[in-house]
Amino acid sequence: MEYISLSYASLGIAVLFIISAMAVSFRYRLGLERDLAVGAVRAFVQLTAIGYVLQFLFVSEKWYYVMIMLVIMLAAAIKNAVARQSIQLKGMFSTLGISIFVGSALTTSVVIGVILRVKPWYSPRYLIPLAGSILGNSMTGAALALNRLRSDITHRKPEVEAALALGATSRQAILPMVRDALRAAMLPSISSLMVVGIVHLPGMMAGQIIAGAYPVDAVRYQLMVVYMIAAAVAITSMMVVYLATNLFFTPDHMLKTEALGSDS
């Protein structure tokens, strides 16, 4: 388990990469030099900070510190999923929040408790990166599913109202849009199942290999990761479309026309 430790001095050389990207921006007058500089500094500060936080978690090995970290990560994921909605509606926070929480918590528990049997279960070395990866994907899936569902219901409103007028419940009336939203949310994780290992070596696997793990071991980990992501996304987006019905309909199966807004 020997690997080359990267010093700050050596990292300084990597700054040349950012400078070369800035040169391209300058050459083609993209006006991105400032963003690149700010981005590089932000990345440095954020990652350094999280590095110290993780270091602290790893050393202290206290379950409550790990939990606090997970709650912060969950909150950030929910906030981000809400921010990605092109129209903000009342109730979106709880819809996305509950879905991301349930989808991630279920998957993470199975991975930690049943598959890896990590002891102690809160061991940050496993819990933090795995939960992070699950949360990130759940967040993207949830955001996609809700955005797609809302926009489809808005665009296909005549069809939805025709179904309601024929005696369909709100869930029956939006079933075709629910299917499309679920498909849209699940497709990215399915395509990544298809191309993983061919087009790219995923970050977690690359990291393990550099850290000295045997590639075949790293591969098994990565397989577990892509499978768990597929499940997390499926569970989360299913919960989103289920809960979202209440965002768009009254309990009396009336479309909340005013809530959908005059759509973009």
Binding site: P158, E159, E161, A162, A163, L164, A165, L166, G167, A168, T169, Q172, P176, T250, D252, H253, M254, L255, T257, E258
Partner: protein, 245 residues
């Protein structure tokens, strides 16, 4: 078969923080088995009146009664099976003609195989005897699609039919044939029909009675010919002369 009554119905809506009355203290009774044509300038609240009957929207105050029962006390799913609605656009589902027609009955758990004869009967009724039920609905012309939409609504055997500008997306010839169809449906099934149209000509062709609403208020309600012979109000005369947009 059913009587509809609006009793002091007010419907408000707020847009950009401002609240205004879409319908303002509307009271009108529609006897069973009659066609009430509802006319008025755009934005007068005509469509909203229909949407309150099958509870696609809810009243702000007052009540809509179906055979004396406040519709807000009826389960919306049951209500909408009794009160069918045809929209301005056919709004068919991207399925076959037959699947569109079977949509309503299947929600009630009826088996598709038990419905095939009924599908044929309804396609005959709406004058589409030669259309294969297996055809995707999207391939039909708009006029044919509107007929399928009407047949789809009739599959639920409604007692009341709400028609929200069903002819405004159609060419004049197709419109005429749809209007005739509406009259046929009424005489065959004895359905009560609320027919919204911005076309006076269309209203006159189908209506037994005429209701004029302007800015959410009932201006007059009378026998259709009586209205066309001579409206009893100044606004009525203006509307008939085409001076209200």
């Amino acid at each position: 078969m059913s009587k509809i009554e609006f009793s002091n119905v007010t419907k408000t809506r707020s847009i950009d923080g401002k609240t205004y009355n879409v319908l303002d203290d509307v009271s009108v009774a529609i006897e069973e088995g009659t066609i009430l044509a509802i006319g008025g300038p755009s934005g007068a609240g005509k469509s909203t009146m229909l949407r309150l009957v099958n509870r696609l929207e809810s009243v702000t105050s007052g009540s809509v009664l179906l055979d004396g029962v406040d519709v807000s006390t009826i389960d919306p799913i049951e209500l909408r099976r009794k009160v069918g609605m045809v929209f301005q656009l056919p709004s068919l589902f991207p399925l076959t003609v037959q699947e569109n027609l079977m949509y309503g009955p299947r929600l009630r758990g009826l088996e598709p195989s038990s419905l095939e004869a009924k599908v044929r009967e309804m396609l005959d009724m709406v004058d589409l005897p030669d259309i294969s039920p297996e055809r995707p609905a999207g391939e039909l012309s708009v006029g044919q699609q509107q007929r399928v939409a009407i047949a789809r609504t009739l599959m639920n055997e409604p007692e009341v039919l709400l028609m929200d500008e069903p002819t405004s997306a159609l060419d004049p010839t197709t419109s005429k044939s749809i209007l005739k169809l509406v009259c046929d449906i009424k005489s065959k099934y004895g359905i009560t029909v609320l027919f919204v149209s911005h076309s006076l000509e269309h209203s006159r062709l189908v209506g037994d009675r005429f209701l004029l609403i302007v800015d959410g208020r009932v201006i007059e309600e009378s026998d259709i010919e009586a209205f066309f012979q001579g409206p009893s109000t100044e606004l009525g005369r203006k509307f008939l002369a085409g001076e209200l947009k």
